[in-house]
């Protein structure tokens, strides 16, 4: 499969040319899982029903692209797919997955809203030997016992890479604000952890002076940044934990009369709009978090069903956009 036939994401996003996920061989663990170890019988993907549980409403580019990628891939492979969406309600997601099982799903692909709290689902799936593949966020549990594999990005690593970009932008000196995601969310925690760790280790000259939640929304990012520029007018950099908040920050800075590039913004996700802002000079860098899990997920399921070995941790390589490549990579953003 080449880039050309990768899924077209016409479901929304920026209409950019989809860029398929690529595994990061180095980051992936060595452990593998097979049907024999996990339990259950082999299957041919086209004969079984696959259930996909999405965690959040498909109303941001990441989720839209993610769901679309799964749906497209299922269609391409002729797989019977049933889906559900928990609308950011964790209790709902637990129910959803159980519903999927009672509707006869024999393979589960889960985009978990939260890493912990999956015990009831894991127990039930284990009892019926239903293989679980989690995408984008991990489920905490024992690989090859509770689930088959996790495919996704390493959020801590994303935080580190964002820090690298920030260090680069500020030349290791300055005051930085962090726009946190929603409180209590693993992604928030891990993207913060990686960022702080790398800044402390590599750039003692950079000080994190401000950390407030923008709830992963553009409005949140904008409102918090508006307050920020009043109380910390000399802020040098803003690390936004997703693109939406970053774009909100841009609007706020713009409204406060700042020039593009005056404050260095680094964000995570890689949506088209954010990458465009790099081109325009408002955002310094974007660490990608690629949502196109369809091909890898189904590939893993297929191999697993056929009795082959599947790595229990499939970490994808996330690209990074910065002023040097933004213009040319823009079509690959989602």
């Amino acid at each position: 499969r080449t880039e050309e036939d990768a899924s077209e994401d016409d479901g929304g996003g920026g209409g950019g040319e989809g860029q398929e996920q690529v595994l990061d061989e180095a980051a992936a663990g060595d452990e593998t899982c097979t049907l024999d170890e996990y339990g259950g019988e082999g299957f041919d993907l086209t004969d079984v029903r696959v259930g996909f549980s999405q965690s959040e409403a498909e109303s941001n580019p990441f989720r839209i692209t993610e769901t679309q990628s799964i749906v497209d891939e299922a269609e391409e492979r002729g797989v019977d797919l049933i889906t559900s969406n928990a609308q950011s309600d964790f209790a709902q997601q637990i129910n959803d997955v159980q519903d999927l099982m009672s509707q006869g799903a024999e393979v589960l692909i889960i985009a978990p809203l939260n890493s912990d709290g999956w015990k009831p689902v894991l127990d039930e799936a284990a009892a019926e030997d239903i293989p679980i593949i989690t995408v984008d966020r991990a489920i905490n549990g024992t690989a090859c016992e509770d689930f088959v594999t996790f495919i996704g990005s390493d959020f801590v690593e994303q935080g580190r890479r964002a820090a690298d970009q920030m260090i680069d932008a500020l030349d290791g000196e300055g005051e930085v604000a962090v726009l946190l995601g929603a409180a209590g969310n693993n992604v928030t925690t891990e993207r913060t952890e990686g960022f702080q760790e790398r800044i402390e280790a590599e750039a003692p000259g950079i000080e994190i002076v401000f950390e407030q939640s923008g709830d992963f929304t553009r409005e949140g990012g904008q409102s918090v940044t508006e307050q920020l520029v009043q109380s910390e007018p000399d802020i040098d950099g803003i690390y936004a934990q997703n693109d939406e908040m970053g774009i909100g920050a841009v609007t706020a800075l713009n409204g406060a009369g700042k020039e593009s590039g005056e404050v260095s913004i680094v964000t995570v996700d890689g949506t088209e709009e954010a990458v465009q802002h790099i081109v325009d000079g408002w955002i310094h860098g974007v660490v990608e978090s690629n949502p196109r899990f369809g091909p890898l997920a189904f590939e893993a399921a297929e191999s697993f069903g056929a009795g082959e070995e599947v790595g229990t941790e499939l970490i994808i390589t996330d690209r990074a956009y910065d002023p040097s490549n933004a213009e040319e990579e823009l079509p690959h953003a989602y």
Binding site: A57, I82, D89, N95, Q103, G104
Partner: protein
């Protein structure tokens, strides 16, 4: 001696025979709706009316049911408790944290803390005479803040150690069919039902909701009764939190947002008047089941986008409430 004969109006001279049909309909309007929905879904959807599916619908709504139980008492006094959702989340986190010291601690701590928050609600409402809606809205934020501060701003998820006594209980099934949480809910509802309808305390609860001033003049300890119902509601939230922590195996920090509104809906659907003085515990149970079944049905009808599902559940809610209130049209008004 002279005579006053009140001809009590009602269909025909029904007043002379036991409880009139009207009363039955009033009390069981929601049950009728539930029956209709169940039959329709059973006919229309395969795999719906199976023991497995129904059990998981019931077990999955156990937390909601416990919250709705506490909420019923509160609403019968004419109050409302918006804090149960975050209180419940707090209870879950505390239970998970305390579980490292054993199941007893995991049970006691959340009950104590959540009960105390309920007590605080009660004192503010009953003694300081603040409006329940705004008071519990404030403590809703407070409980959320407390939860964030005990979980390091939501960054730490406490795990329940393997092999905790309560875990096996929570996940067990009676005769391999009926989950213990469901049994617990049934037991709590029976106790709650008896407390509300058969004890002097329950009469006080009704009296306070009927007319606070009159109740006070009739010798009902109004403040004590009100304090008690909010405390009970807090305890219910704590208990649901414990159940939740052991059910999910961890203290999930993103749980319970908006669940208070579901609990209120369930209670109202169950025929309890928001204005107070009238209502039944059994109705609330039916209300919870109705909400759960509807969600299950919406999930089962796949092909709906997540946004459409919301539209459908909103419309469903209003239809159910309308149907319910139509069935119990002639119920007394305050």
């Amino acid at each position: 001696m002279s005579t006053v004969t009140e001809r009590v109006p009602g269909p025909g001279s029904e007043s002379s025979r036991g409880v009139p049909v009207r009363e039955l309909l009033q009390r069981h309007g929601a049950l009728l709706v539930l029956a209709v929905v169940l039959v329709a879904a059973g006919v229309g959807l395969d795999g719906f009316l199976t023991a497995g599916n129904l059990n998981h619908v019931a077990v999955g709504s156990a937390f909601l049911a416990i919250l709705a139980l506490g909420m019923t008492f509160v609403i019968v006094t004419g109050g409302i408790d918006l804090s149960v959702g975050t209180n419940f989340a707090l209870g879950g986190v505390l239970a998970a944290w305390a579980s490292q010291y054993g199941s007893l601690a995991a049970l006691a701590l959340p009950l104590a803390v959540c009960g105390a928050i309920g007590l605080l609600n009660g004192v503010l409402i009953a003694r300081a005479r603040l409006a329940p809606f705004i008071t519990t809205l404030a403590t809703m934020l407070g409980a959320w803040g407390l939860m964030l501060s005990v979980s390091d701003e939501g960054n730490t998820t406490y795990l329940v150690p393997d092999g905790a006594v309560l875990t096996s209980l929570v996940h067990g099934r009676l005769f391999g069919v009926i989950g213990y949480p469901l049994l617990l809910v049934l037991v709590l509802f029976v106790i709650g039902g008896i407390a509300l309808s058969r004890t002097g305390w329950g009469q006080n609860v009704y009296a306070v909701g009927g007319d606070e001033r009159s109740a006070a003049l009739m010798g009902v300890p109004v403040a004590r009764t009100k304090t008690a119902v909010y405390t009970v509601s807090g305890l219910c939230a704590g208990a649901a939190g414990v159940l939740n922590a052991f059910w999910l195996g961890s203290g999930v920090t993103i749980f319970g947002i908006g669940i208070e509104l579901q609990a209120i809906s369930a209670v109202v659907i169950g025929g309890t008047l928001l204005s107070g003085g009238y209502g039944f515990v059994s109705g609330s149970f039916v209300g919870v089941m109705l909400l759960a079944v509807i969600q299950n049905i919406i999930n089962t009808i796949s092909g709906l986008t997540s946004a459409f599902q919301e539209v459908v559940s909103g419309v469903f809610l209003i239809v159910v409430v309308l149907a319910q209130s139509r069935l119990s049209r002639s119920r007394p008004r305050a």
